[in-house]
């Protein structure tokens, strides 16, 4: 009995001790890795990656220590057009056989005003790793109706794929030189 009480007491202490930074597993059902690129300069072509995983840490009291890491399967690119997706995966574009993974690992989190932040990190894409800066908004966070605890963010960045060795402008025209990336991330606290 005494043993049991000690065990209960110990676990209560563990449960009530606030961890310095909470770790969150990315909820793939509520996370979207999207991009858009101009078609001929006349309209936006939207696409997304369907297969990814990742996690982040979030500490409201010490925002500067926040970090995020996400890994994306390049071949899961989806622009809702089979022939185009096949072409994007080929050696003309993503070359997914040779470079199967796209990765972003943050190196710094700089909090701004009104729940905004500037997150810098290394993006590995097309086999090239380069620093990229995301403009991040902390959309919200709190308890969910099913006993979990969630935080959600949106990050945007404008990339020049040519810097990663994939010159879209060369293939598709000058208007396609830049790609806008939007990460809508929701995580469940571990």
């Amino acid at each position: 009995m005494k043993k049991l009480l000690t065990a209960v007491a110990t676990s209560l202490v563990i449960l009530s001790t606030p961890t310095l930074a909470d770790n969150y597993q990315i909820d793939t059902e509520h996370t979207f890795v999207q991009f858009r690129v101009k078609h001929l300069g006349y309209s936006w072509l939207n696409g997304r990656f369907n297969d990814f995983s990742g996690n982040f840490s979030y500490d409201e009291a010490k925002l500067g220590s926040n970090s995020v890491s996400i890994e994306i399967k390049a071949a899961s690119v989806d622009t809702h057009h089979a022939e185009r997706d096949k072409h994007i995966r080929s050696g003309d574009f993503l070359n997914t056989d040779k470079h199967p993974t796209v990765k972003f690992v943050s190196t710094s989190y700089q909090a701004g005003n009104n729940e905004t932040a500037t997150v810098t990190g290394n993006l590995t894409f097309n086999g090239v790793t380069k620093p990229v800066t995301l403009d991040v908004v902390h959309v919200g966070g709190g308890e969910d109706p099913w006993g979990g605890f969630r935080q959600g963010f949106q990050g945007t960045a404008t990339l020049k794929p040519a810097e990663f060795g994939m010159d879209l402008a060369e293939n598709l025209g000058a208007a396609a030189a830049e790609v806008e990336l939007t990460l809508s991330i929701e995580g469940i606290r571990e």
Partner: protein, 181 residues
């Protein structure tokens, strides 16, 4: 000449279907090889695949009809001078040619329709997609389409070489009867 094949030879309509298929398949092969390397701003970038898809669907329908026709009709007997192994080789080659033609049609259809898009035939009609949920179906289909195309062309060369050999070496009517002579 009869409307249908007889034990003695092929009918004119069957001969026509044979040669139309041969010409169309060779045409699609060349068109296919050429179109995949077109630049984005080439006037043929959209047009060439549209033609390739449309003709591909139509010729696949012709192939299916021809296979049914073969089943229903009396097929000509092998020329008397053909050796047993030649008959077996010919029958095997013909079966493989039909199989590859079907494979080309279906794999091509799945490249275009894997994400749910219908395959349009010259704006006359379209073949709806039957699936949109098999991951990377368009890539697997593309690989099959490419490999099957090379095998089909190789086998066509074997098939034609055999006919030409029978015409010039054995001097029999193997080729002549497919020319309606």
């Amino acid at each position: 000449m009869d409307k249908d094949n007889t034990p003695a030879g092929y009918s004119i309509p069957f001969i026509l279907v044979h040669w139309v298929t041969a010409i169309v398949v060779l045409g699609l092969f060349v068109l296919g090889l050429w179109m995949v390397d077109l630049g984005y701003y080439d006037p043929w970038y959209n047009r060439a695949p549209n033609i390739h898809r449309s003709i591909g669907v139509l010729i696949t329908l012709v192939v299916v009809a021809r296979m049914i026709w073969r089943k229903l009709s009396t097929m000509p007997e092998s020329p008397k001078n053909h050796k047993p192994w030649e008959r077996t080789a010919a029958r095997l080659t013909h079966a493989l040619l039909y199989l590859l033609l079907l494979l080309m049609g279906f794999s091509g259809y799945f490249i275009s329709s894997a994400k749910g898009q219908a395959v349009d035939v010259f704006n006359w009609f379209s073949i709806p997609a039957i699936t949109s949920s098999i991951e990377n179906l368009e890539d697997a289909s593309g690989l099959i389409h490419e490999i099957a195309a090379y095998v089909l062309i190789t086998l066509t060369i074997v098939h034609a070489s055999a006919a030409i050999k029978h015409h010039f070496v054995e001097r029999d009517n193997t080729l002549k009867r497919m020319l309606g002579m």
